[in-house]
Assembly symmetry: C2
Homo-oligomer: 723 residues x 2
């Protein structure tokens, strides 16, 4: 009967293509489409004509299962698995299980792998060439299998392949800002995947497919809950549900972390205090850790946002971040768990430039944290803006493992309606040179731990995943999930490589499609910077939801929540003076950079107004005045979106009706909103500059008052009650 | 290139079956699976060997498009459309377009149709038998096309078919309790389909598929927003988005309605009052209607919840429901719109039995509403309980069109985790005899307008649809959406027919599958009554979320929100005395029923404790004491769920892995929760009855205190802020 169902399915989808095309979006970069080229098809058919793949545990079964699903899709016939190693053309097995003769052929490669790495290699064995996927561990085999399938999806030549790859970062982690009511703070792709109501019994297929997608790019840790945490997730009712998720993810090498609300001992433990030096509190956390590990032996640990934006923390008790983090670290240590302690702190009682506060507060703690504490720092010192200079804590913290926190969800980058390829942003930060240990001290080297030989390395991405059918709202936002994973595995990859991999596995291997669309992706991030925050402008978003422009906002209780705090536009000019004549945030960088950033002439123009308050007629490198330059950048951003639309229209022949229409509709919204940004910001800044728009900049079609009057009380992703 | 993509798709799905099976859930009862029987296949191939289907407008194009999608799936080859009517084997066209000779053959059938009806008939024409689908209107053609495809999915013999069908109810309406933040009050299938943020530009394929599903069962109206409405939906920003949805739905014969917050003139109109007799207020609503109709010429009208559970309404200004409804009706009248005014009212300032209040309040208004007002009444006088006697307003309101309001979403029936086939509940109500115009005055005849010849007839269902991949959370909850639509079309259908249609189009035509699973569906509603609210018990749910039992709850501010108000258990007995010795709610029924309900001996036992407070040792018809009878019913409910599980396990050979596992996991939750209900309620009531559990009833494995201590602050569907 099951056989029969498959035949029915075959015909069901034969022509229902238009009405079902959008279901394909669900499959992400794991579509495993039929190989189009006959020669490639033949070479792959030869490669897998007999497959030896013993699978005696869950991780290996999942890897084998992936192969069993993917190969028939790509090749059009079932996989011939064999128990006879000697006769097989493809051998997938752990190194310690291979016959000596085979071990010898890859010993050198395997010796250079770390525990999660793999080898994919053509070797001569028993007088014929065979392909081998091997690794030291089960998870290495899973990663190797996904990589093999990835290469096949890209039609790579596998005859003579010799590839050895290991992740360069230990913890490759998604941070879900998901609340227990399934709303997602800064979520723009629907609501939380975690259906707490139906857990632990009901295992949604989505949990499995989420794990597959993560494993396919090497993500090995997930924080299920919002950093603005609710302590209830640490109660038995929820831990039972977390346990069920952890069980699914374990088979794909993914460890579960939870956010820990610092005041949990009071809220769910009936204690009167959460003072980290109080013995009862310490005992409570130790017992809680024990309780969690009894359910989830490979539990990852806690992610903590403490004394930040109103969250509880050790400072309430006169203690500091070290006291708080080390207390939790002590509780987790016996079980091998980590504390990820966020450095996103700034105080309403401190009128220091907000950009300086995290550095000022955390640098003195360097070297004082226990060895299972990682300090997690956002890529920039403000808050996930379209562009920021790298956070000065990178390279400055030398004795403390420091995790990079990127935001994959597009809080400040057009939500899920703007096509923005974020690896360009991530790589710009990773490639930045901190100069903290001389030239070449890049952020990437800090993050992968190589610069200071840190014991733990970590990269976290704030997830853009929700329960939208296509997971990420915008189909191209899938590329940001993919790209984050790839960079967490290897922070030295290029944006070009990542875009190409994603396009080939998601859409097509046709060069005539890939080249223009890749170009569109690679320019998309500069476009959004241009039409939102050019030349170093930042945080001029509307209040709360951060949807659309709000450079005029000046009424929020905390000065450093107001856009006017950040752009400081007045009749004389615009920009935040962070040099030695201003807030002196530049002093937090290495001397070489400090000097460079202190002088507008040597400051990269992309950071100009981040570091300097400059007159409207300041002369840019182009020869334009600052005012004209700002206006032209805004216009350029809009024009770039128009170009993206034209590029997409040209790609129509390579796309299904749905693929084409879906992105086209979204690009129309992006164009509308790019114009909104340009018009609103220019009209507002013009009230200070009192200069006309330069030639080539379109005249706004609405008044400043109209833009100022727009209200969006139900924009998605607004931060809900924190408790 | 598009051709090529289809081929790829074909292979993609060939073997990816297990990993993609759950995507099939999305397709609802419109799967159009391949016809298995060779003889049926051949007869259908003959039937459609040449199809004449001119389509010169959007509705007809959608019908034709459905045929173009469905037939190739079912038959394995493309549809041969022809412009030559004379040579065609299947002719689909409006009656007024047919040649005279064909018109004559179906004139009598067509004469008996109403505007939305259709004919499907085999006729002899040009010396051969051909099949004809015809109707007076485009929408009739759409319905006829869906019905033809439905019959084919069920492998019905179509040689010699002669079928004429018209809907018996005018407004067949879904009520979405969807909020603008996409949360859904009482929603258990994810979040709102309406992605307001991306509207109007982005048209999600789901909107189209939602419309297709509705049209396929004849639903022709949808209220997009929650009855606890936010006035913002009536502002231009949202009306532009509503307009985009209305455009999609128009092509499927579905009119859009909105909920109107009575205080909107104050909140969005800057008026100081919402007094319905105030001229400015009247003018505001008239202008609002004009504004809406300029965008949506076929806008349906307003659904209003006024002076109910804290909602604003005319009483605030010393006016009544007639004043309020007629004021809005006047505004909508010039454009053909309706006001649907809900009668779900009860007051915290009135200590009359809550079950009596809507009748008391609305009966005096009978005949006073304008002719475009419909009063919408819940099926029972309390609130969508697993079982209630029909609402006494049915049959009592004689001069006023009265809409039936059913709840498809399972607020009090196990959320989307319990398999409960609701048409059994709906039909029990529809078949009930009100006796208001003598015997045979059934609720169905009231609702379809035939009893009192009302000008408008309407049935509304509170939607169970959300953005879960399978739309309704539980795959069997799709049957409740389907069944509601079928009953709104024809309130005299049997539950058996509806279950069979749904099973055949959703799962399989195999009798060995259908018979046991249909039986499971048909008993499922009695099971939930047994394990939650047997023998007329009602509203003993936990507070707010209504998840699980809370018979002990006695601390809510309004007496009539507390379960103890409803069961009135004490040492003497249990039940609500609504006879002439009690609240005398029985007097609201026709004399025959009043008499019947006043005497426990003649009251159907399913309503026993609804109408009577009886001693624990009251003797039931079975000979058992009331206490034993209650306990045995709870046990029976649990046993029925166990039987459902066994039935489902036996059906495994007919199901895909996913289809089987998904329902099995959900049934496990249902069994767990059925036991929870049984244990918690019996332990609690036992504190009054002070009697042992009878033989055959399982002993609870937890204490009453444990059950009482359970808290679910994040249970789904909790009513959010009302503003």
């Amino acid at each position: 009967m099951k056989q029969f169902k498959i035949v029915i399915l075959l015909f069901t989808l034969y022509t229902a293509s238009v009405k079902s095309q959008h279901l394909e979006d669900y499959k992400l970069w794991l579509k495993y489409g039929r190989i189009e080229s006959k020669t490639v098809l033949q070479s792959y058919a030869d490669l897998v004509s007999q497959v030896y793949f013993p699978a005696d545990n869950e991780v290996l079964e999942n890897a084998k299962n992936e192969l069993s699903t993917a190969l028939p899709n790509m090749l059009g016939k079932p996989v011939a698995f064999s128990k006879n190693l000697a006769e097989s053309t493809l051998i997938i097995d752990r190194y310690d299980q291979l016959p000596n003769a085979l071990q010898k052929l890859i010993k050198e490669d395997v010796d250079n792998l770390n525990d999660e790495g793999y080898v994919i290699k053509t070797v001569a064995y028993n007088d014929k060439n065979i392909s081998l996927v091997s690794a030291k561990t089960n998870i290495g085999i899973l990663y190797g299998t996904f990589r093999l399938l990835n290469l096949m999806q890209m039609n790579e030549d596998l005859a003579g392949v010799s590839l050895a790859d290991s992740p360069k970062i230990d913890l490759r982690m998604l941070n879900h800002w998901d609340n227990l009511d399934r709303s997602i703070e800064r979520g723009y792709a629907g609501f939380s995947l975690w259906n707490w109501q139906k857990l632990p019994e009901y295992i949604d297929q989505r949990y499995i497919d989420y794990a597959r997608a993560n494993a396919s790019v090497g993500i090995n840790a997930t924080v299920l809950t919002n950093v603005n945490a609710n302590a209830l997730v640490l109660t038995p009712m929820y831990l039972e549900k977390v346990e069920a998720l952890a069980k699914v993810f374990r088979g794909y090498g993914i460890k579960v972390y939870l956010t820990a609300r610092f005041s949990a001992p009071i809220e769910i433990g009936n204690l009167k205090t959460a003072d980290p030096l109080n013995e009862e509190v310490q005992k409570w956390w130790s017992n809680k850790a024990k309780e969690i590990y009894a359910r989830i032996p490979d539990f990852g640990g806690f992610l903590v946002k403490a004394n930040s934006e109103g969250q509880p923390g050790p400072q309430k008790y006169g203690r500091n971040h070290v006291d708080g983090a080390n207390m939790m670290a002590t509780a987790l240590k016996p079980f091998g768990g980590n504390v990820i302690w966020r450095a996103f702190v700034y105080s309403e009682h401190d009128d220091t430039d907000r950009a300086k506060q995290a550095y000022d507060e955390f640098l003195p703690y360097d070297g004082k944290f226990k060895d299972n504490v990682v300090v997690q720092v956002k890529n920039g010192a403000i808050d996930f803006q379209p562009r920021e200079p790298f956070h000065p804590l990178f390279g400055a913290l030398k004795e403390t493992p420091i995790a990079m926190e990127f935001q994959i969800t597009q809080e400040y980058l057009g939500f899920s309606t703007h096509l923005v390829f974020l690896p360009k942003l991530f790589i710009e930060v990773l490639e930045a040179d901190t100069y903290q240990k001389g030239p070449g001290s890049t952020v990437a080297k800090v993050v992968d731990g190589s610069l200071y030989n840190n014991a733990i390395s970590a990269m976290a991405g704030v997830s853009n995943i929700g329960n939208d059918l296509n997971w990420t709202g915008h189909p191209f936002a899938q590329a940001n999930w993919y790209g984050f994973g790839r960079l967490a595995w290897n922070p030295y990859l290029s944006a070009d490589e990542i875009a190409e991999e994603w396009l080939r596995t998601t859409y097509s291997n046709d060069k005539n499609f890939i080249e223009p669309i890749k170009e569109m992706m690679l320019t998309s991030r500069e476009a959004v910077v241009n039409y939102m925050n050019p030349l170093g402008l930042h945080h001029i978003f509307d209040t709360g939801h951060h949807y659309g422009p709000g450079p005029w906002v000046d009424n929020l209780s905390r000065p450093d929540w107001n856009p006017i705090y950040y752009h400081k536009a007045d009749e004389n000019g615009i920009g935040f003076d962070r040099t030695d004549t201003g807030s002196n945030a530049t002093e937090q960088y290495a001397p070489f950079l400090e000097k460079k950033f202190n002088d507008p002439a040597t400051t990269p123009e992309m950071f100009l107004l981040w570091f300097h308050h400059l007159p409207w007629d300041y002369k840019l490198k182009s020869g334009n005045s600052l005012w004209d330059g700002i206006a032209l950048k805004y216009q350029k951003g809009v024009d770039q979106v128009s170009t993206m639309i034209a590029t997409w229209e040209n790609a129509k022949p390579f796309l299904t009706v749905h693929e084409y229409e879906e992105v086209k509709m979204l690009l129309q919204i992006q164009l509308k909103e790019a114009k909104w940004w340009r018009n609103a910001c220019l009209l507002y800044f013009q009230t200070f500059s009192k200069r006309p728009l330069p030639k080539g900049v379109e005249q706004p079609n609405k008044s400043l008052e109209e833009y100022r009057s727009l209200k969006f009380p139900f924009a998605p992703g607004i931060r809900p009650q924190w408790n």
